[in-house]
Each structure stands twice: as C-alpha cells, then as structure tokens.
C-alpha cells in the first residue's frame, strides 16, 4: 500500500509543475489511495475526485473551501501539457486529435479545449483549457469469478462474450483481467492462450509509446490506438491469436470484423455501453449480433456497489441466466 502511494506520487508528480506537485505530495495516504482524477480547469480550483467524493487542493494540501484552493492558471496548464508530452507536443498530434495522452504507468490525461475541425472531423485540440489526469489502477482478480462461466467444460473452448455496463461500470477492468488470466493461464483453462488486444483508445493495456503499462498477460499482443475493425483483421492476418479482446463496439465495421473473427475460429471478448439488454438492443449494430446469437455469454456489470459490480451472466442464445446477483442475495 505504502509503495503504491509512492508509485502514484512518483508517476503522476513527474508530470506536474513544481507548484502543483507540492500540493499533491501533501495529500494524505488514504485520499491518494482512492483518488481517481486530478482536475485542472483554467481559472477554477484545482480538484481531486474519487468514486463518491471530491476535494479542493491548495497550498497546504486539501482545503475546505473553493476560495482557498489553488486557482489553475494558463501557465499551470501550459507547463503541465509540456511535461506530459515530454517537452514534445509536436510528437503527440494524434493523441491531441483523440483528446487524450497516455502516461507511463498507464495513467491518462484527458484534454478539454477548442476543437479545430477539418472536413467535419476534429483535427486537433488547441487552447487547452482543462486537463483531467486519470489515475490508472489495475484491479487484479475481478475476472476470476466470471471466467468459469466463459469456458466450455467439454472442449475447454472459451465462449464469445459481450460485457455490458454503463460508463465507469468496470468493463475495461474486466476485459483487462480476462485478457491477463487467459494469457497467463489459470486452473480452469490450463495453459495460457495467445491473446490479441485491439486497444483503440489505449484504455485496456494503458500503452505508453506502444508498450503496455498494465499487466495483460505473457501471451498477449497489443495493437495500440488502432481502429477496432482494422485491428481485428490485422490480428487475424498476422498475429494468430486464439482470443481477441477489444472494447466498446459501436460501428457497423466493428461488427463485421467481429463476425469475420468468429467465423475464423477466434474467440471474441468485447464490451458495449448500456445498462440492460433492452437498451443495447436499440442499437442496430449490437441488435444484429445478438439476434444472430454470435455472443454465447453476456455479462452485465453495474456500479451499484462500486465499479465492477457483477449483476448477471446470461447464456447468449436462449437468454438463460447462469448467474444473478439478486438470486444470489436471496
């Protein structure tokens, strides 16, 4: 725990200007341990957010009132941006276009500012007015109770799986942990399997300059910042994975690539935003995949009891419940 605290200070602190760094260093251990975001917004108080709370930061660390907090200046933002880009903003044009930069350790910095649009698409964010430093946390073991439901006991094959949860419901954490367990190998699977992660938004593996910063398993290849549909096809052609993990299906091309992979005998484990089956069925792309029973297992997560609360596991074709938090409670 103590080491973890110092790692976060060390990893995040390196990218903060000295003035803000000293404020973060004054945070108590318990607070930093659960901190999720450090928010820098131009001309507004410096803030720290965690699951169900927030605090203002000032010279002495946490302060009670917004007026006593440190008000973030343009210079603070400019310096932070320079430090997170390792003094090389020119090398991060693609990240600036996407609206985030990944740091060593898998931490991510979201950008707010003026979008420069070209041919209807965001070209770059200029005049940065806000930075959201999201502290990466790898929670290992979240997939251990789910994995037995995803394995065909007769053949040892993994089922095609769709994870459904609202934002911040723990989808990415679950995907990452599944990739790690399948890749490293666990009792129920025996030896590990080759896993390919198509990580379009660098969230699953938290890659920094292409190198995964979070543990995703020893037999895992990562295509970082690669569009899903293209990445799945690249994986199939050149990296021979047994399992492909990707997140947030949405476009028609993604669904086509998923179907292609399934027909190639590769297991697909992916996720989608939503809080119920009815809700995701309103999205034509997902509805088509579900109606054709491409997914053999559906996992429902929520943040009812904190991010990653397992609500239900359902058999994909007939909709039979295999696990339900409610029936368990009863």
């Amino acid at each position: 725990m103590f080491n973890r605290y110092h790692n976060v200070i060390k990893e995040i602190g390196l990218f903060l200007p000295p003035r803000i760094r000293s404020m973060v260093e004054k945070l108590p251990f318990e607070l930093l341990e659960q901190a999720e975001e450090i928010r820098l917004r131009h001309s507004r108080p410096l803030m720290l957010h965690w699951n169900d709370g927030e605090a203002y930061l000032g010279k002495s660390g946490v302060v009670g009132k917004a007026k006593d907090a440190h008000f973030v200046s343009g210079e603070d933002l400019e310096k932070t941006l320079e430090l997170i880009s390792n003094h090389s903003l020119y090398a991060f044009e693609e990240e600036l276009r996407q609206g985030y930069i990944t740091l060593p350790g898998g931490h991510r910095v979201g950008l707010a500012g003026r979008a420069v649009v070209e041919k209807g698409k965001v070209k770059i964010f200029s005049n940065i007015s806000g930075l959201n430093i999201r502290i990466a946390r790898q929670i290992k073991g979240t997939a251990e109770r789910v994995l037995p439901f995803l394995v065909d006991r007769a053949t040892g094959r993994l089922f095609h799986t769709l994870i459904i949860s609202p934002p911040q419901g723990g989808k990415t954490t679950m995907l990452r942990d599944l990739a790690r367990l399948i890749s490293d190998g666990v009792g129920i699977l025996g030896q590990g399997q080759k896993v390919g992660i198509v990580d379009e938004r660098s969230e699953i593996a938290g890659s920094f300059r292409g190198v995964p910063q979070l543990e995703v398993g020893i037999r895992t290849d990562v295509l970082d910042a690669c569009p899903k549909a293209e990445g799945i096809m690249l994986m199939l052609r050149s990296l021979s994975p047994r399992v492909i993990v990707t997140d947030e299906l949405g476009r028609e091309a993604d669904a086509d690539a998923v179907i292609e992979a399934i027909h190639c005998g590769v297991t697909i484990i992916t996720s989608v935003h939503g809080s119920s089956l009815e809700e995701i069925c309103n999205r034509p792309v997902i509805a088509t995949l579900l109606q054709n029973s491409y997914f053999e297992r559906l996992i429902f997560l929520s943040n009812a009891q904190g991010a990653g609360t397992l609500e239900a596991i359902v058999e994909g074709e007939r909709g039979l419940p295999l696990f339900s938090s409610q029936s368990k409670g009863e």
Partner: protein, 173 residues
C-alpha cells in the same frame, strides 16, 4: 645581452599570443554559429521524419555536434531528464548559464540563443518547424555579421599583438 634578448623575445611572443587569443574569439564565434545552424538542421530532420521526443533530439544533436554547442544541448537534455517539473525553456536557460563562458559569443549572439528557449517543444510539428526556420534565418544574419567581423578583426588583432610586443621592447630598450 643574452638575457635582454631572451626577455625581448618573451615579451614579443607573449603579446603575439595575446593578440592571437583575441583573434581566435572572432574565429570561434563563426564556428559556434555554424555549429548552431547544423544543430537546427538535425533538429528539423529528427522531428520531421522521426517525430523523436525533444530530449532524444537533443541527445542526438549532442552526439553529432562537437564543441560547446554540443555540450549546450547535452546539458539541456540532462536537465530535462531530471524531470523536476521545469519546462524545456527553463532547462535551456539554465544550460545556457552554465555554458556562457565556453561559448565565447558576444552579447547579441547570446541574446539570440536565449530567444530559442521558449521555442523548444511548443506547438504542433508545423509550428515547431516554422519557429526553428525563423531562428535559422536570424542565426544566418548573425553569422554573416560574425564572418565580416572575423575578416575585419582576426588579422588585425594578431598584428596588433605582435606590434604591441615590439613597441614595448623598443620602449624598454
């Protein structure tokens, strides 16, 4: 008599060396500015084709440009690697302070180098290339002036040293 002759030779030699050392400053200034131009060429190539990060670019320049200009980039890279929260401009300024004596540049030339601090790592690739091109243009103008200064002063100071030494010897005789 021999002692007087030796003394006279020593005086003339010392004065000549003094003149040479001053004339070398003009020669070295031209060399420094040429090295600086080369450094900026390397910088442009590195970010244009390789998109290398600034500390890596500076390390590459330090490895390819000899003398105090190479040392200036090496020092800046060292400060950046400390990751103590200072901007590239701050690191450049600190490195310039450390290198000031070794560079042998005049006040205006040093001011030009100071101006380069805020340029490093700011803006996107096009901005960066434009800013570096502008700096190169300013350095070229300064280099032209430095070359003219060199032509004017290099020989003059060597002769002045020699003649000064002779004058002292004549006066002492």
């Amino acid at each position: 008599m021999i002692a007087k002759l030796l003394g006279a030779i020593l005086i003339v030699f010392t004065a000549y060396c003094y003149g040479c050392s001053i004339s070398a400053v003009y020669k070295n200034r031209v060399k420094r500015l040429e090295e600086l131009l080369l450094s900026l060429e390397i910088f442009k190539a590195e970010i244009n084709y390789g998109l290398s990060l600034l500390p890596e670019v500076f390390r590459s320049i330090a490895g390819r440009v000899r003398g105090p200009i190479g040392v200036l980039f090496a020092r800046t890279e060292k400060y950046m690697k400390l990751q103590d929260g200072f901007s590239a401009g701050d690191c450049w300024r600190k490195s310039l302070q450390d290198s000031e004596g070794e560079l042998e540049l005049d006040k205006d030339q040093l001011a030009l180098l100071k101006k380069m601090g805020p340029v490093w790592g700011k803006g996107d690739k096009n901005d960066q290339l434009k800013q570096v091109a502008l700096m190169q243009e300013l350095i070229r103008q300064t280099l032209q002036e430095a070359r003219e200064e060199r032509v004017k002063n290099e020989k003059m100071w060597r002769y002045l040293g020699l003649l000064g030494g002779c004058t002292i010897v004549i006066l002492l005789l």
